[in-house]
Amino acid sequence: MNIPENERQLEDLVLRYLYDDLDSGQRTAFEHELTVNRQLKKLLEREQSLELSIPRGTSVYIDDERLGDNRRQVRRQLQRQVAKRPLLTEFLAALVRRPALAVLQTAVLAVSFALGFVIAGPGTSITTPVSSGTEVAARMSPLGLVGEQDYEIANLQIERFDPASGDIELSFALASDTHLSGNISEAGIRTLMTVALVNEIDEAARLDTLDVLQKASYDDQVSASMIYVLNNDENPGVRYAAVRSLVEFVEDEQVKSALRQALGRDVNPGVRVEAFNALAENPDPETLAVFRQRAESDGNDYIRQQARAILENTDPNSNAGFSNSAIF
């Protein structure tokens, strides 16, 4: 390495040395030059003096709480954006097509209006015993389980206001810390928990909720919420728990369809393997079509090979043209 004589160029070299911009040969040459070049040594010592007070790597401290708050804010905004896409709309439309799910439908609509069942501070805690199924049935939304006087408005935002017409659009969260006691067989509690599966931000809470619902008797409401979780939950662990619950009901056409969708779309191989194994028990033509696609492109060896084996058993000529390409 040629060592320049010009001071400006020497300063440039010192910066490159301090910020790891020299290769090993250049570093060795630079360090050798330091032993004989007083000007270079002086420049380096001057620059290194800054490191005494603020060593390289000294940066703003970000604590876990601050990071978590930011993460939640980002997630809310992303979910709001994605909610404008057809995904949630399709889910709601599907509920409308299924009259048996009127309870969940009402609850989800209520939640989409309220923008979440947000837990507020401990000062607002109340206890609402759920005494009878009839009483709960009259209040189908989980918001109905909270006393009206206990609502708190949080995060109010005026999204649009037209001073001429007076038209206004608001968004806000309803907050209340509420304790419920009752039985899992009661519709109110089941509704609350199925909506929480869709809406609760805390991943551990969603897993706990899934676990309890799995133990409850299976019905359309539980099935619909688990299918929604399988298709939409951001956490692979929660989706995995959902698929493990749903595989027991693979004979249900809605469940089978959701499993096919998960096999075709989920980025998590664990979820896809569970869905695949359940569907492989008794594959219908629609399922075989998905198997054919996964036999070609699944990133998971097990799924590719098992799908090929099933397709070969179904139609010995079906493996013709399989390539080794994998998407996920």
Binding site: Y19, S53, I54
Partner: protein
Amino acid sequence: MLRESDEELISAAQAGNIAAFERLVRPVERQMLAVAAGIARNADDADDIFQEAMISAFRSISRFNGASQFSTWLHRIVVNASLSHRRRLKRLWRHSADLHEGEEYEEQHCHGAHTPEQSMLSAELNAQLNTALATLSERERIAFVLCHQQEFRIREAAEIMEASENSIKVYLFRAREKLRNQLDPYYRPDHQPNRME
């Protein structure tokens, strides 16, 4: 369960999958927030910049083509969000001259961030560093944050800032000179810096 590759996650995020996007950014999100906090004037601005950058990254990930590393691409978005935020504030200042009065950098700095050995700067040095950082120009500050605080190499900072390596070295040199002058009392031999563990 197997861990998805970045390629799979990018592909899923490009299809609108929030969870995949979150998993992609998780390894660098603390660093991104620290970059935003290093550049911004206060903690609230830093949080806003970080959030704007994340939303912007999600919106534009379909255009990510792998020409640069994903983390480099993300940091470029944070830097651009910082610059946009700053421009918005400047427009506000024109209408409200008082807004920047009394505005202070107030972040807490530490060395060896988020490791068991990390040490917080003393309150005195931290305040002095914040004051010194406030004297840097926008680009000097960004170059310093990237190279000195986040330990990017000069060429990586040049890629993130979309500037030449020579420009980065000029920004760095000026930044260091200003900081040296401001922090001079803290590295004199007779000064005993007080670090909190």
